[in-house]
Symmetry: C2
Subunit: 347 residues, 2 copies
DNA sequence: CAGCTCAGGGAAAACGGTTTCCCTGAGGCG
DNA sequence: CGCCTCAGGGAAACCGTTTTCCCTGAGCTG
C-alpha cells in the first residue's frame, strides 16, 4: 500500500507536512499551493492512510465494538438484536466508523474478554446487556486506559452510566393504565426474566399504575417467567389451574404481558383453553413486533429498537469524542398501539 | 495499558525476549527459567498486547471483515443475513478473531469503500454477495497488498474465486425432479432476481432436470421475479390470467418457486384465486425457512445458511493463513424436505 | 590453553503514521 | 541597514510490537 512517505516524495514535501494537510491540522501554516500539491499527489498515488498506524500514533481508530451476550443463533432468533444492530450500523456507516461485533455466550464470557475488547482495536463499546447486575460494568469502568461505553437496552440506575433504552417504567405504566381505562380491575402480570433490568422496571410501572388508580395489588396474579412465548403458554395454564371451580370469579379480566412474545404464547394458550379473547380476557404486550402483532391483533406498547440502536450509536460517538459526558441517559418514550386484543370490561 | 517494556523491566529481560516468549517464537533459544519469569511478569502486570501495534509490525490482525450490501434494515428483514452471520461468528469466536461488519446499501458503495476495508484493519474479507457480476471482485483481486476474500452465497464461475454456497444447480434439479417424480409434466418456474447468481443456477438445474426427463421446456411458464413473497403473489396472478378460458388446460400442475418467500406468496395467492393446493397445483420452494414452511406445510429444498456461514469462516481463515489457496469451492448439498404442498399429479 | 560451537539473550531497525519543536528566510519597522 | 516577527515547512521522536542480526560467555575439543 502506498505510504505517506511516497506521497511526500511525490509532492516534494516532508511526511509531516502531508499528515498535516490531509488531517487539516495546522493548515494555517501550510500554504495553499502546498496543500493542493499534497492532495493531488495523494490522489494520484491512490493513498489511503493505514488505520492501524494511525491508531498506534494515538489517534482514534474510528471503530467501535458492539458486545452482545446471547445464544449462538441469536441474530437469527432474537427479535431485539437485528433491529438494534441495524440502527447502530446505519449511524456508523454514515460516520465512516467501523463496527466490530463481539458475540458472547453470556456475560461472564464477556467479562473474561474485556482485555480483548480493549486491546486498541476500538475507541468505545456498545453493550447490549439486559441484565440488572453484572460486574462487567464495574470492570469496564476501572479499566486503564478508560474505554468509553454505553448500555443499550438497559437503563439501570448508576452513577455515570450512559444508558439508551426504552423508558420501561412508563411502558409498564402505560400498558396497565390502558387496561384500567377500559374498566379492568384485576390485571394479571406475565413477567419476563427476573434478572433483566427491563423486567423490574416494567413491573414498577405496573404497580405505579395500580396505585395511582387506587387498585389493590395482588401478588397472586403476578406470574414470573421469561421473555419467550412458552412462558406465556405456561402462565395461562397456571392461571387457569389457579382460578377454577369456586375461584373462577377471581380470574383476572386482563393480562399485561411484559413482551409481545409472551403475549403470543398467551393468546395461543387462551385459544387452547377456550377462553375467548378479548371478550373474556384482554391481552396487551410490549414491543410491537409489528408483522405478527398486526396479524394477531395484539394491542401493545411500541418500542422502536432500531431508533434505540441509532441513539446509542450517536451517544457512544459523542462519548468517544468527549462531546458528551458519561451519565447521559436517553430513554425512549413508549407509544400505545391499539389493536383488537383489548376491549372494555364486559359487565 | 501495560506495555511490553514494562513486562520486560519486571522480568529483567529485553522487550524482544518478552515478545519471543509470549509468541512462542524461537523458544528453543530462551531458557525455561527465563520463559517462566516472563510469563509470570506478564501475568502480574496484567499485560495484553496491543493488537494494533502488532498489526503495524506486520503480524496478522486476527480480524476479518464481513461486507454485505443490502438495505438498511436487512439484518431485521432478510432471512439470509442473520443465520449466515451467526455461522460466521460462531467460528470466529472460538478462533478469537474479531469480526468487523460493513453494511453497504449496494455493491457500488462497497466498491468505493475497498480502500477502507483494506486499510490494515482486517486480514481478510467475507463478501455476502448474491450478484452475478460485479466489479468489486476484480478490484479486490488487483488490490495491493492482496486482501484475501471469500464469496458467501455466491458460486459464480471464475478463476481463483473462493466460493461457499449452496449447490444451486443441484437444488434446482432436485426440486424439479421431485415434481417430475410425482408425475408432473408442466412445471412453472417462479424465478428470483434476474441478476442473482443463485437464480441462474437454480434455473439451470430446472432445465437440466426437464431435459433429463425428456420433458419439453416451455418459456411461457417461466416467470421472472424477485426473491420476495410479493413476487409469488404477482406471478400467480399472471399465470391465472394467462391460463383462463380455453387455455385453462395448459395450466401447469406444479410450481417450482426459487425461494420459500416466493412460495409463501404463491400459496397466499392460490388461496385467493381458489386454486386448491396441492390437489390442483403442487408447490415447492428452496430454503426451508423452517418455522413458516412447517406451519404452511411447504415442501422445499433445505439449505443450511448457518452452516454456509461457518464453512465460509473456516475457508477465509485458511486463506488468510495460507493453508488453502484461492479457487477453493465448497458447495453444500441440498436436501429435500417433504411436506404437504406437493402431491402426485391427479389424473 | 587456544579455538570453536552453540545456547541465551540483547540492540536496533522497521511498520506507517502524528506531533512537537525548531530552523530558515522574507518582510516590516525603526 | 540591522533586528524582530512570523509564515512555511522540515527533522526527529514516539506509539508498541516483531524480527533480524549480533554479541557474550560457557563448555567442549584437540
Amino acid at each position: 500500500m502506498a505510504s505517506i512517505r511516497e506521497v511526500a516524495a511525490e509532492a516534494k514535501v516532508s511526511p509531516g507536512t502531508v499528515s498535516k494537510v490531509l488531517n487539516e491540522r495546522g493548515n494555517a501554516s501550510i500554504s495553499r499551493a502546498t496543500q493542493a500539491r499534497v492532495r493531488e499527489a495523494a490522489e494520484r498515488i491512490g493513498y489511503h492512510p493505514s488505520s492501524i498506524a494511525r491508531g498506534l500514533a494515538g489517534m482514534r481508530m474510528n471503530a467501535i465494538g458492539v458486545v452482545m451476550a446471547y445464544d449462538e443463533e441469536s441474530l437469527t432468533s432474537d427479535p431485539y438484536l437485528g433491529p438494534c444492530l441495524d440502527g447502530l450500523l446505519s449511524i456508523y456507516k454514515q460516520e465512516r466508523q467501523k463496527v466490530t461485533l463481539f458475540l458472547e455466550q453470556n456475560w461472564d464470557a464477556a467479562l473474561q474478554n474485556i482485555p480483548f475488547y480493549g486491546d486498541g482495536h476500538c475507541d468505545g463499546l456498545a453493550l447490549i446487556i439486559p441484565r440488572t447486575t453484572h460486574p462487567i460494568v464495574d470492570t469496564l469502568r476501572s479499566q486503564r486506559p478508560h474505554l468509553p461505553f454505553v448500555l443499550v437496552g438497559d437503563s439501570r440506575e448508576g452513577e455515570g452510566l450512559t444508558c439508551i433504552d426504552l423508558d420501561n417504567v412508563s411502558a409498564g405504566r402505560m400498558a396497565t393504565e390502558h387496561l384500567i381505562s377500559l374498566g379492568h380491575r384485576r390485571i394479571a402480570a406475565f413477567q419476563g426474566n427476573a434478572d433483566f433490568c427491563s423486567n423490574d422496571q416494567r413491573f414498577k410501572g405496573y404497580r405505579d399504575a395500580l396505585a395511582s388508580a387506587g387498585l389493590p395489588y395482588d401478588p397472586e396474579i403476578v406470574y414470573p417467567g421469561v421473555y419467550f412465548a412458552e412462558s406465556g403458554v405456561e402462565n395461562v395454564r397456571r392461571m387457569q389451574k389457579q382460578f377454577t371451580g369456586d375461584n373462577r370469579s377471581g380470574r383476572p379480566s386482563a393480562i399485561f404481558c411484559f413482551s409481545d412474545s409472551i403475549a403470543f404464547g398467551a393468546l395461543e394458550a387462551l385459544r387452547k383453553y377456550d377462553i375467548h379473547m378479548p371478550t373474556e380476557i384482554s391481552v396487551i404486550g410490549i414491543d410491537d413486533l409489528t408483522t405478527t402483532a398486526q396479524q394477531r391483533g395484539l394491542t401493545t406498547i411500541r418500542q422502536s429498537v432500531r431508533s434505540i440502536g441509532q441513539r446509542a450509536a450517536i451517544a457512544l460517538l459523542g462519548l468517544a469524542r468527549g462531546e458528551i459526558t458519561p451519565g447521559f441517559r436517553d430513554l425512549q418514550l413508549p407509544e400505545l398501539v391499539l389493536r383488537s386484543s383489548t376491549v372494555a370490561l364486559q359487565q
